[in-house]
């Protein structure tokens, strides 16, 4: 087996490489080499990494992996996944994505409209709380993917912008 993958663990990117056969695996996490032992029984895993042996529960829900180890809960995603946002900062995306699940209360823009940074685009409501999704920068609205009353999922594309 040979796996190269960058994953985010609780919002932080970790680079993972796994090589070798099942009975002689080695792993590198952020360039630290570690001997690896793996045993699996359904969702229960026993992992030996370097000199530590722990049991873990691993469940995967689409692009998110939830891992419980010794009372710790880790939420992991593939680092190249657009849905890993939320921690703030980073590159602005022309795709305006729902930060939380909920209902669309208002759509404040239409296709072709020019917006400036901070302009409200969509108003969402979840559990009686309102959140305004606003423009990341000066742009023109290229696509509108939601209507008032629509139920949306986190990560769903609401609006597509074309930055000026």
């Amino acid at each position: 087996m040979s796996i190269r993958k960058t994953v985010t663990v609780d919002g932080a990117a970790r680079t993972v490489a796994i090589d070798g056969r099942d009975d002689a695996l080695s792993a590198r996490v952020d360039d630290i080499a570690l001997a690896l032992g793996l045993r699996r029984d359904g969702t229960a895993w026993t992992v030996t990494l370097a000199d530590r042996t722990v049991t873990a529960t691993v469940v995967r829900d689409r692009d998110t992996v939830w891992i419980a180890i010794d009372g710790e809960i880790h939420r992991c995603t593939a680092a190249d996944d657009a849905r890993t946002g939320g921690a703030g900062g980073g590159v602005r995306s022309p795709k305006v994505i729902a930060p939380m699940p909920g209902k669309v209360l208002a759509v404040r823009v239409e296709v072709g409209q020019k917006v400036t940074a901070g302009d409200p685009l969509v108003v969402l409501e979840a559990m009686k709380m309102e959140t305004i999704v606003s423009a990341d920068g000066d742009a023109t609205v290229k696509e509108v993917h939601v209507t008032i009353g629509a139920m949306i999922e986190p990560g769903q594309v609401l609006i597509v912008l074309e930055f000026a």
């Binding site: 969702t43 529960t57 995967r60 829900d61 419980a68 699940p101």
Partner: protein, 506 residues
């Protein structure tokens, strides 16, 4: 006397489960109601009978008075328990239940209506000798008038808009020199926000504690108290940690506060379980905030220290029986934490998803009240409260350390929760020392981020493996697929498959 042999529970989630359990223990038949979203919910499975009451949105199901009365009639229930939230403090609902010839397990509609009206409640409390936050009537908007009033009230003071709400027009004033500008500014802001420039003055409570008194009254005119709870740990005015007794309340203060609580309940001819909420300032002075005319979310901490089952007592009172207790001697200390589906690292935004695995805490002096199970969908339709963890100890410190251990055992996979945030509060030295107040979280945990943990590297390896599994590999190059994968060696990967309820070892 009302019979109360079959109770319809007009609620869902953990409180419905909790009420059904007491019904079972008393040999009372329970009837659950459920929306389309809750067909398979734990409260439906646990109840003796269940009635569907409509679509997922609460205003089309759990909040429709007529549907609930019809469900009670259809099932032959003779009483309705409203739980908390939804219709629990709706006087029209309580009246409709009574008018239908059913027993409402709660206070008379008049008590609900009076306490639901802020102005009426304040006036009545003043008359009953229950302290309220000192305030003036509307004052002429000039600095001299306000300076005189402020000297009488004592600094700090807060200027408020008579038509106000949401903090608009509010100005906190600590010294007389600040008054001229604050009065002018508050009047201006009130005018522009509400079209009404009237302002008044109130004493400002600096970092108060939230302390509440549990009362119980029967239909024979007896009112008793069951001590206090402190619920100062709040975010956005929402309690997340409660305890009893309060580390700030000594025997003298307890006597004064519980006396006031009993006077407040008696003033509205209260019946059943109720809670009088107070703010306690750093001088040991307390002021009436409001009365909750229902069972509280945090009632388990009172159950721990009194040994009573409050839902059982509610049912006995509803049957017209006299209270079987007077002053209940409290023992030990209890703490409750509320597990919410929300992200404390991102403004407490509500989180949704599927509960794929649930590890419940257990052991001596640990209680877990929940309305979820492995497989439950957590949507946006309802309150984000998932479960309540409560612990008991001979001392506060014993209850606190037991809670830290219990939270560590509380492992929910599939939905973001506030568990790690709760652990951070419990572990904070200021919490451990009992120095709690309503600004605690803003002061001590601003910019909180999830802990890194000791096993982040193991998680990274497992995540890399899981994300390389069949569901993620589909569409990728054949080269990687041809390599021996852990899935072939270790059995097929089943995306999203959680362990069966009770089968998870976390």
């Amino acid at each position: 006397m009302p019979t109360v042999r079959k109770i319809l529970i007009a609620n869902r989630g953990e409180i419905a489960v909790r009420i059904i359990r007491t019904c079972r223990a008393m040999g009372v038949t329970s009837v659950a109601v459920h929306s389309e979203a809750d067909v398979d919910a734990p409260h439906v499975r646990l109840a003796d009978e269940a009635v569907a009451i409509g679509p997922a949105p609460a205003r089309e199901s759990y909040l429709v008075v007529e549907k609930l009365i019809a469900a009670a009639r259809q099932s032959g229930a003779d009483a309705i328990h409203p739980g908390y939230g939804f219709l629990a403090e709706n006087a029209r609902f309580a009246a409709a239940v009574n008018d239908a010839g059913l027993t409402f397990i709660g206070p008379p509609p008049s008590a609900i209506a009076t306490m639901g009206d802020k102005v009426a409640a304040r006036t009545l409390m003043e008359k009953a000798g229950v302290p309220v936050v000192p305030a003036t009537a509307v004052l002429a908007p000039d600095a001299d008038t306000f300076a005189k009033a402020a000297a009488d009230l004592g600094y700090p003071v807060v200027i408020k808009a008579a038509a106000g709400g949401g903090g608009k027009g509010m100005r906190i004033v600590r010294r007389v020199e600040e008054l001229p500008e604050a009065v002018a500014g508050a009047a201006r802001e009130a005018t522009s926000a509400f079209g009404d420039g009237r302002i008044y003055l109130e004493r400002y409570l600096e970092r108060p504690r939230h302390i509440e008194v549990q009362v119980f009254a029967d239909t024979h005119g007896k009112v008793v108290h069951l001590g206090e709870r402190e619920c100062s740990i709040q975010r956005r005015h929402q309690k997340i940690i409660e305890e009893s007794p309060s580390p700030a309340v000594d025997a003298t203060l307890r006597a004064a506060m519980t006396d006031a609580g009993i006077r407040a309940a008696a003033a509205v001819d209260y019946v059943g379980a109720g809670t009088i909420e107070f703010l306690l300032d750093d001088q040991g002075r307390f002021y009436f905030l409001e009365m909750n005319t229902r069972l509280q979310v945090e009632h388990p901490v009172t159950e721990w220290i009194t040994g009573l089952d409050l839902v059982r007592e509610q049912i006995l009172v509803a049957r017209g029986e006299p209270l079987s207790f007077d002053a209940v001697p409290a023992r030990g200390h209890a703490i409750e934490c509320r597990l919410y589906s929300e992200d404390p690292a991102h403004g407490f935004l509500p989180a949704t998803g599927t509960v794929h695995a649930l590890g419940e805490p257990s052991g001596a002096w640990v209680r877990f009240d929940s309305g979820i199970a492995a497989g439950s969908r957590i949507g946006v339709e309802y309150d984000p409260l998932l479960a309540k963890i409560s612990t008991f100890g001979a001392t506060r410190e014993e209850a606190r350390t037991r809670m830290v251990a219990a939270l560590r055992e509380t492992v929910l996979l599939g939905v973001v929760t506030n568990r790690d945030y709760l652990m951070a509060v419990l572990a904070h030295p200021a919490f451990a020392s009992g120095a709690t107040h309503t600004q605690f979280l803003a002061e001590h945990l601003p910019g909180w981020a999830p802990p890194v943990g000791r096993h982040g590297d193991v998680a990274a390896v497992l995540a890399a493996l899981a994300l390389t599994g069949p569901a993620a590999r589909r569409g990728e190059g054949a080269q990687e697929a041809a390599l021996p994968s852990p899935w072939e060696a270790l059995g097929p990967w089943r995306p999203g498959m959680g362990p069966r309820p009770g089968g998870a070892k976390l």
